[in-house]
């Protein structure tokens, strides 16, 4: 009896330690990003960093450190990905949760989840040899390594997240809502769009935001598939270089302790803050929705 209580307490302590550790790791990473990132501003003016669209730290002449173009590129690619993934994802989630027969669902669900297991480098390769040339052909471009290419690939990559979370949200809508709607003479489509989807609204928003976080943070795929040109993009048919791609490309060989080195940490810190913000919003909305359900 005594020893069981001791084990109980020990296990509790162990879990507490694990939780604390992960929080500490998170704080440590952010602290490290911030400490290194701040040093960049000893030599770069905040105005240049946040308002110049010219990023060229390894310049032949004077290096420049403006993040506007890559910030815009990141948002452009992510926005495009969401435009594709949100309707598809919610449609698929609604189908799985409400329409599909148990057998169909049993087959489809694992396949969708498997989509998340494809390594991003493989997705990027598909972007180079298949999706990119296809885009070039359809839109009459000289090449398909564009923001649109990245958007399509990121959409595919964020679909599993969106579908899984949205399906849970839709599934958790009480059956009584559905019955209530049918009893008033609604058909399946009306019930879905007028009652079930609005009732799972916050869960679906959470799904979208989590998918968005996945898309913003993705590196390898955009690095390979979007052309990585430094110029400010004018639309989805221009090549772009995102924040993640910039860090991945340049951190590999940047001399330690230089302004360039610290500036990449500043970009990383900003990316971290954006991701953190997105996750907090998702967390918030999801909490609200749990309370409601």
């Amino acid at each position: 009896m005594q020893s069981r209580r001791f084990i109980d307490r020990a296990i509790k302590q162990l879990f507490f330690l694990a939780a604390t550790l992960s929080v500490l790791v998170l704080l440590g990473i952010f602290g490290m990003l911030l400490m290194n990132g701040i040093k960049a501003f000893e030599h770069i003016s905040l105005t240049e960093f946040f308002f110049s669209s010219n990023w060229n730290p390894a310049a032949y002449g004077k290096p420049s450190y403006g993040i506007v173009a890559m910030l815009f590129s990141t948002f452009l690619v992510t926005f495009g990905a969401m435009c594709i993934a949100v309707p598809l994802g919610i449609g698929a989630a609604a189908y799985l949760a409400q329409v599909a027969q148990a057998k169909t669902r049993l087959v489809l669900k694992p396949i969708i989840e498997l989509l998340a297991a494809i390594p991003s480098v493989v997705v990027g390769f598909i972007g180079i040899v298949m999706v990119g040339p296809f885009i070039a052909k359809v839109f009459g471009l000289s090449n398909g390594l564009t923001a649109l290419n990245g958007s399509i690939l990121l959409a595919v990559m964020s679909l599993p997240t969106i579908i899984t979370v949205a399906e849970d949200a839709i599934r958790s809508v009480p059956n009584s809502f559905k019955e209530g709607s049918y009893a008033l003479g609604a058909n399946q489509w009306t019930t879905l769009t007028k009652v079930i989807l609005p009732a799972s609204y916050s869960g679906i928003i959470a799904a979208i935001i989590l998918g968005m976080g996945r898309a913003i943070g993705e590196t390898m795929t955009v690095l390979m598939a979007t052309g990585n040109a430094l110029a400010m993009p004018h639309g989805f048919f221009d090549p772009v270089r995102t924040m993640t791609a910039t860090i991945a490309i340049e951190l590999g060989e940047v001399p330690y302790g230089t302004t360039h080195y610290y500036s990449l940490f500043a970009v990383g810190a900003l990316l971290f803050l954006i991701s953190l913000g997105i996750n907090l919003i998702a967390e918030n909305i999801a909490a609200k929705y749990r309370y409601k359900a």
Binding site: N56, P133, L145, I249, P255
Partner: protein
């Protein structure tokens, strides 16, 4: 008893280690680190050399020119391979740490300019090539080709090729419209599908064994000035005779004058046997100018030099 068995294992393991190091007298370890361009070549050289001299163990790793140079500065490697010369700030940092980088040239890497087979252009001057990548020439029409926006492909800024091409061909900033590709293979793939594309890649990468260029791309002939002849890198003699103008040295950096086994290995790299391996790996023998520089560094003489 169990504790004792552990002791036994430790004892025998120690014995084993001891016997390893004493089997052939003293074995010396050499570390080579750096350029990804050179890593396969360095491996081939190291492996062949180790067969001939059992008293040396050479480990080779890549990571990029910058990584190799950083390792040399930090005293973590004997040889730093670099496909570009050291930068001023790297030299400064080395001096601060009491390291004296000394370069020898291992071989030459010619860079080919490739376009889509449909592109009617056959040759370019270095000047035109620079203008294309600087963004000054942006339509094939300006070079007598079709009215088509030129689509630029290059390497990423962490590549030695990126730096070499900028510093020796452009001597200015790249156009921001250059698509920075993640490796040579991706440039080739992109050019195959882009009728308006142009890219730069190592010659070794696109030449097949019979000397023809890889399928689906076209290699341009390059002339130094508008008044000289254009030479294609697809012909070996153009490179060997020094006529092809886009060619860069591949460096091996050491800390100060190499001695002992290190010197022997570097001499081997520059020997006929070593240079044959350089060619087998798609690169070219050290050019005349750099041969003299190497002689100064190693007190070695070309062609006549042998292993010992």
């Amino acid at each position: 008893m169990r504790k004792h068995s552990h002791l036994f294992i430790v004892f025998f393991f120690g014995l084993y280690l001891w016997s390893c190091t004493h089997q052939h007298g003293q074995v010396e370890n050499l570390i080579i680190k750096g350029s990804d361009t050179e890593v396969n070549l360095a491996l081939a050289l190291a492996e062949t050399y180790m067969m001939e001299d059992l008293s040396i163990s050479i480990s080779v790793s890549g990571g990029g020119s910058g990584a190799g140079i950083a390792a040399l500065i930090n005293g973590k490697t004997n040889i730093a391979n670099a496909s570009r010369p050291m930068k001023a700030e790297e030299l400064l940092l080395a001096q601060e740490r009491g390291v004296n980088p000394l370069s020898t040239v291992l071989g030459m890497d010619a860079i080919a300019i490739v376009v889509h087979p449909q592109c009617p252009i056959k040759e370019l001057s270095k000047q035109n090539l620079g203008d294309i990548y600087r963004g000054k020439i942006h339509n094939w029409k300006q070079l007598g080709g079709p009215d088509q926006e030129i689509s630029l492909y290059g390497r990423q800024s962490n590549s030695g090729t990126f730096v070499y091409f900028r510093d020796s061909i452009l001597q200015a900033e790249y156009s921001p419209k250059v698509k920075q590709m993640n490796g040579t293979a991706q440039i080739v793939e992109a050019i195959k599908t882009d009728a308006s594309g142009i890219g730069y890649v190592g010659v070794g990468y696109i030449l097949e064994k019979n000397g023809n260029a890889a399928k689906g791309i076209k290699v341009l002939a390059i002339k130094s000035t508008d008044h000289t002849l254009a030479y294609s890198p697809a012909l070996l003699e153009n490179i060997q005779q020094g006529n092809y103008p886009i060619i860069r040295p591949l460096f091996q950096y050491t800390d100060g004058k190499p001695k002992g086994k290190l010197l022997q290995f570097l001499r081997y790299c520059l020997s006929e046997e070593g240079q044959a391996l350089v060619q087998q790996n798609g690169y070219f023998p050290v050019s005349k100018m750099y041969q003299e520089q190497n002689e100064l560094a190693l007190n070695t003489t070309y062609a006549k030099s042998s292993l010992h």
